[in-house]
């Protein structure tokens, strides 16, 4: 898959995982990896980017006598998901158009 496309999709996947509930690094990877390949070293820059673009915020919680960082989706993050979904609808229409065109060519 194209790197830029995958990057964008991964960002939305992470946001979507956070839409269900606030979450932390390890849990996000567990939630997202069944759908898209994601490793710890990929997730970290994504979280930083999302934080810089104010799509997520974070807070620390004490857990088992250590600190665990939880990420929380913001309104801007929610908007990003909606944008992605509407863009994707358009993409699907284009996909159908291209696919029909190709199948005509094949006949």
């Amino acid at each position: 898959m194209d790197i830029q496309l995958k990057r964008g999709i991964l960002e939305v996947c992470v946001l979507s995982a956070l839409q269900k509930e606030d979450s932390y690094g390890y849990q996000i990877i567990k939630d997202v990896s069944p759908y898209v390949e994601i490793s710890e070293s990929t997730l970290y820059p994504i979280l930083k980017r999302l934080e810089a673009s104010e799509c997520v915020t974070f807070y620390s919680v004490e857990y088992n006598s250590r600190l665990r960082k939880y990420y929380k989706i913001t309104e801007k993050g929610e908007e990003k998901i909606s944008e992605f979904l509407s863009d994707f609808k358009e993409m699907m229409a284009i996909y159908q158009f291209i696919k029909e065109d190709t199948s005509h060519d094949e006949i």
Binding site: G25, Y26, E40, Y44
Partner: protein, 195 residues
Amino acid sequence: MTKSEFLGLLENELKDIPDYERAIDYYREIIEDRMEDGTAEEDAVAGLDSIDTIRNRLIGETPLPALINAKVSKPISSLNVVLLIVGFPVWFSLLIAAGAVVFALFVTTAALVFSFFLLVFTLAIGGVAVFIAAFFHLGTNVPYGVLNIGASMMMIGGSILLINPALRFGQKSIEGAKWSLEKIKSLFIRKGGNP
């Protein structure tokens, strides 16, 4: 590798990247979460990407100005400040000398490439000129005219023979210059001892 060994190595490799402490905290948390999930410490560490991959991903995401800024704005100890001032006559002249040597190397290479092309060009033009002149000589002095034709053929042949090596030499020099500029740039980004 244990968790603390890994984090120590990671810290060593990420020191020059802005906000690296957060990255260390992030990986500590991931390893601890993995261990709590039932993975043995060494396996939790082994399952992570290599330190090189982690470093490259972080550098890839960090804009160059931020990287340089992080390197320059590092606190310098007072001992280093004193050394910098006392050693100024030495390191400054060495720096200038190193800069001059690098510059001279670039200029010399460029001059060599230029003269190589000039040689090819001169042989070609000279060859054509001698060839034309040969016909005038043939009218007055046949052996001299024939000699001129022979000489012009040699010159044109020589220029044709040298075109490819000249082009390759030019290409290699440009590649070499690019490579050395990259190396010089990486001196500023790579981790390593500040003076």
